[in-house]
Each structure stands twice: as C-alpha cells, then as structure tokens.
C-alpha cells in the first residue's frame, strides 16, 4: 500500500474482542465492497482497548489484506476519542466510519461515496427496514423524536453508526464526551450539507430491550446539553436570563400577593409557607440570571475561536 494520501479511509472502532467471528464477517464484506468501488482506500481499525487477542486478529488479517492498518489504545477511551485519533492518522479525503459488525447492508457505501462525490459533506444512514425488536424500535423512535423536538433539527436515526464524511467535517467538529452519537446534529448545525439514506438493517449488537436505567439518564442529560449548546453557545444570557426571569417574576408575584393579603386583609404571614416559596423563587431567579452573566464573560474572554460563521468561498470581481 502506498504511504501517500488515498481517496477513502474506512475507520472501524472496536472496544470489545469477544465476537471475533462477526468482526471477521464484517471485514470480508467490507473488502468485497471496497474493492468493487475501484478507488484507493485504507481500512483503519482502532482497537479502543479491546485487548491483545483483537490486535492479533487484525494483524493476521493484514497479512492477506495490506490495506488494513491498526491503531491501538491500551485501554478504552470511548468513541469520541477513538474517532479523533483515527482522523489524525487517516489519510483519506473521505472518511467512512463503520461499526465493528455488519449493522446495515455495506453495499450502501457505493451510494454514500457517490453522494460525497456530488458535493454532500456528510452522509448518515437510517436503518430501514429494521429487524430488531419492538421495544428497541420504540425506544429508538422516542430518542430520535425527542432529539428532533429539542434541537429542531430533522434527523431520523442517530444510533446507526455507519457514516461517511468529507474529512473537513470531522476536523471541524470537536466532539467531547458522549456527543459522538449526536454528530449529525452538530454537523447540520455547522451548516454542512447533510443527507440521510435508508439502508437495510442486518444485525444489531448495540442496545437490546431495556437498558441500564443510568443510561437513560445519561442520554437525557446529553440531549439537554446539546439543546443548550446548539441554541445558546454564543448567547448564554438568553437562556439563563429567560429562566431567571420566569423564576424571579413568579417569586415576585407570590410575594406581592402575600403583601396584598397582609396589608388589605390583615392576614398573618407566619402561617403561610407560600411566602417561603415566593422568597426562594426570587433568589433562584437572581442566581440563575447571574449564571448567565458568568456564561457571557466566559464566551467573551475565551470564545474568540468560536466563529459564528464559515466562509465557503470568496468570489472576486477580477478573477
């Protein structure tokens, strides 16, 4: 394989080594599709702490298929870190990220590459028709619908991890924590041209049935962060200020009502717990609002690199 740049880098991130047969099947199917594509490519396997046996399997595979490269972490750092590292080492203009098993029909890579060729920046996949259980589908539907609602961005399937990018997309979007799965939203938000194509669902290794309850909490929190980051990164006071205003005015309203009762009806306030609620709401409003001010200071002092816009092209009159 040449050491120079190539057309397509396929990145596969694997954090568990148990299902060697499935990984082997994926690689076999991938080889068929990639070779029939007729483009220069490499397959970058990221061992995200899957262990020595997995690395040995990949290296063995490399003997027969020299396009395979291995990037190794000693322990699991998670999808976002693994992908960042992979982008550092990938040499392709396009980067296709695939799960480590055949989640969807890989023949779709042909269509994805064609879309990238014709000016799309980012191609995601939605699993259709799906083969997993009703419960999984219901959860998945709820998750996607809730995300759509909170961010106002129309994506249908965030949990299908076969995705194809123009390299710039991954270089520009900084991911942290669990936001890896919300990449589509961040990309659309940055104004990249995004297409979602349907591909037949083949196998599912991810979520089955009900998940650990902590996971639901984490997903929920992720979406709250995302909602905030998408809409208010540059204007935190709009968010905190509005929340503070709502709390504060509710509190002032309650206190005014109490004062009204005291002054005109001479009712004692000592017996009224509502007064405590009113006072606390005022304090809460003050606190939340001033957190917004701190946010504005952070954005002003640290946010120089956060550009609101991206210049695609400058077309000069004399050129």
């Amino acid at each position: 394989m040449s050491a120079g740049p190539c057309d397509i880098s396929v990145v596969i991130i694997c954090a568990e080594a148990r299902k060697q047969a499935q990984f082997a099947a994926l690689m076999q199917a991938l080889r068929k599709e990639m070779e029939s594509l007729g483009r220069s490519f490499e397959v970058l396997v990221v061992d995200d702490g899957a262990g020595a046996s997995f690395a040995a399997q990949v290296l063995e595979l490399r003997e027969q298929w020299p396009a395979v490269r291995l990037l190794r972490f000693r322990r699991t750092f998670g999808g976002s870190v693994a992908l960042d590292a992979a982008v550092d080492h990938a040499r392709g203009r396009y980067i296709v990220v695939s799960p480590w098993y055949q989640q969807v029909d890989l023949h779709g890579i042909h269509e994805m590459v064609r879309l990238l060729d014709t000016g799309t920046d980012y191609v995601a996949v939605r699993r259709e028709p799906r083969i997993d259980g009703v419960l999984s589908r219901l959860q998945s539907w709820l998750f996607n619908a809730y995300t759509r609602r909170m961010t106002g961005i129309n994506v249908r399937d965030l949990n299908c991890t076969l995705r194809a990018f123009r390299r710039e997309v991954l270089e520009e979007i900084a991911l942290h924590g669990d936001l890896f799965r919300f990449m589509s939203i961040l990309a659309i938000r940055r104004g990249f041209r995004f297409v979602e194509i349907p591909l037949a669902h083949m196998h599912e290794e991810g979520s089955k049935g009900l998940l650990h309850p902590g996971l639901y909490v984490r997903r929920f929190l992720d979406i709250v962060s995302l909602f905030f980051l998408v809409k208010f990164t540059n204007k935190p006071l709009r968010f905190f200020g509005l929340a503070g205003l709502v709390f504060g005015s509710a509190g002032v309203g309650i206190c005014a009502y109490m004062a009204w009762l005291r002054i005109f009806y001479n009712l004692g306030l000592t017996e009224r717990p509502l007064l405590i609620l009113g006072l606390f709401l005022v304090v809460l409003g003050v606190i939340v609002g001033s957190i917004g001010l701190i946010g504005e200071i952070i954005i002003f002092t640290q946010g120089r690199s956060l550009r609101d816009y991206h210049i695609d092209e400058i077309h000069d009159g004399d050129s």
């Binding site: 940055r190 709009r238 306030l269 701190i294 504005e296 002092t301 609101d308 695609d312 077309h315």
Partner: protein, 315 residues
C-alpha cells in the same frame, strides 16, 4: 485587485433576489461619481433563493464587487463579521441590501470620518416606516441604550455607518452585537458622531424584523454593558449587587432586632427570612464576582484587547 481599496462597503444579503437588480444599478450609478477606490463586499448569508447566483453573475462583470458565500444562514452579525474579515479598506461602511439606505450618503459619511472621527453613524431622521410597530419601539430602544451604555446615538438600528477599520477589526462580533456597534466601539475609545441620512420606504422584498426582539435586546444590553465597561474588572460589576443585598439584608435584620427589643413579639418570620435570603444573595454575588475575575484572568483573550486598539503611535 492590485492594491487595497480605500473603502470597503459591506452588504449582508439574505434572500434579497427582488432587491438585487436595483441594488446593482444603484451601485453602478454611485460608483461612476465616487472619487475613492472602493470594493463592495456582498456577504451571502445562506440565502435560499436565487440571490447567490445573481451575486456571482454580477461579480463576473464588476471588478469592484466581491461575493463572500457563507456555508449556512447565521444571521446579520455573523454576515457582517465575515464581511469585515475579508474587507481590505481602511474605511468600512456597512449597508443593508434593501435600498432603504442610499449609497449617495456614503461620501458624506466618509468626509465626516476625515474630520477626525472613528465612527460616523447614520441617523434616519425622516424614517419611512410604520410609526407604531417600527419607529416608536426603535425610539424607545435608542433612548434606553444611549442612557444605559452612556453612548448617545440617535439611531443604533441604522446599518449605514462608517467605521475606521483599525477600530472595528479587533472587535469580536458574535450573537446579535451588530445593533450595539457604537457602544462596542466607544469601549475601544472611538470618537463617535452622527449625521442624518436619507431613508426610503421599503419597496421590494420583506422586512425581516418583528416586534419580538424587545426581550432579546434588553438581555443583550446587559451583556454589552458588562463587556464594554467591566470586561477587565468584573468584580466591579457584581460588587454593587452584593452591596445592595447586604444593605437590604442588614436593614431587615436591624428592623427585626429593633422589634424584638421594643417588645413587639409578633413571632413573624417575614423579616428574618428576608434578612437571611438577602445575605445569601449578597455573598453569592461576591463569589460570582470572584469567579468572573478568575475567568478573565485565565482568558486567552487579552482583557484590554478592546481598549488597546485606541492607542495611536504618533512618532
């Protein structure tokens, strides 16, 4: 262009296909009599209509025109910031595409700038808009902004303003700051004045503003005040809040103690509750001020960035 032009005219464009032909012919006419070298930068803010194609077409036949294409719609401030980034002139003039402003005012703005000002603001004295939904709110807003920030300009909302690039370039424009440019520039020590400009009724296309901005503008105002006056010493911004709550809490506590010693044993919780919560708020603002100081100190951004641009090397 071989050498940098003297003046950069920046026009943000969003879905203005109806206005563009008239805009170009107006600019053509204006340029034939304009005495300085000028570049016109049209920033396409992710238009969904034919605006971009029309801009490209116009750019092919006009050497003074430059089209900047943004990847997606980001709003007026971002479009202006993008235009500012690529502008090469020593004087920057902003204008709207809707032709409510008249380019023929530009020479007068620049002449005024040459009298030794850094910012010349346009003032639409004879404003041709609906009185109740546009003119009155705008009048109130300008008064409030002028009073609150301490930079009295009659017409913050008028886009047609001329700036010295050395004042404008160091500013980091984000959110909806374009409405407050005179305030931001004054923070950088700009000498500001204004002149009356013409204003035409909107004939083509639709106005993209509504009345719902009031809350946003109020919030922005608080932020601008914080940034302009207190960016390098936020404790002074939070300090007075802390002091006010301290006074309130102290007064409530004092009154309560007074009642106690006088023997009104009403057992009321009102005053003690007020005192405790006020003292909590007072401490809270004190700590917020410290936190803000911390953020400013570790900021990668030089806290004096705004003001240092005002220094002029004389010899």
């Amino acid at each position: 262009m071989a050498s940098a032009p003297e003046v950069s005219l920046v026009i943000p464009i969003f879905d203005e296909e109806e206005c563009l032909p008239t805009l170009f012919s107006t600019l053509d006419r204006f340029l034939s009599s304009f005495e300085r070298t000028l570049e016109v930068i049209c920033v396409d803010d992710g238009s969904r209509d034919r605006s971009l194609a029309m801009l490209y077409e116009a750019t092919d036949t006009r050497p003074w025109l430059r089209t900047v294409k943004l990847r997606s719609n980001r709003g007026q401030t971002a479009a202006m910031a993008a235009g500012l980034e690529v502008a090469r002139g020593e004087i920057i003039v902003f204008m709207d595409a809707d032709l409510q402003n008249d380019p023929s005012d530009i020479p007068r703005l620049i002449a005024k700038l040459d009298e030794g000002y850094d910012l010349v603001s346009g003032w639409r004295r004879q404003r041709q808009d609906r009185a109740f939904t546009r003119k009155f709110p705008s009048w109130v807003a300008n008064r409030i902004i002028g009073w609150f920030i301490g930079v009295r300009v009659h017409d913050y909302g008028c886009t047609l303003k001329a700036y010295r690039a050395s004042i404008l370039k160091p500013l980091h424009l984000y959110s909806d700051m374009h409405r407050f440019l005179p305030a931001l520039c004054s923070g950088a020590g700009a000498r500001i004045t204004e002149i009356e400009v013409k204003h035409h009724p909107r004939r083509l296309g639709n106005s993209k503003y509504g009345l719902d901005r009031v809350l946003k503008v109020m919030g922005d105002l608080i932020v601008i005040k914080l940034i302009v006056a207190f960016a390098d010493r936020p404790m002074h911004y939070f300090g007075p809040f802390s002091a006010a709550f301290l006074l309130l809490g102290g007064a409530a506590a004092g009154l309560h103690l007074l009642n106690q010693t006088r023997g009104f044993n009403e057992q009321s919780i009102v005053l003690p509750a007020l005192a405790v919560l006020s003292l909590v708020c007072s401490l809270y603002f004190l700590f917020m001020g410290l936190l803000a100081d911390l953020i400013v100190r570790v900021g990668r951004r030089d806290p004096h960035a705004l003001k240092r641009g005002a220094a002029e090397l004389i010899s």
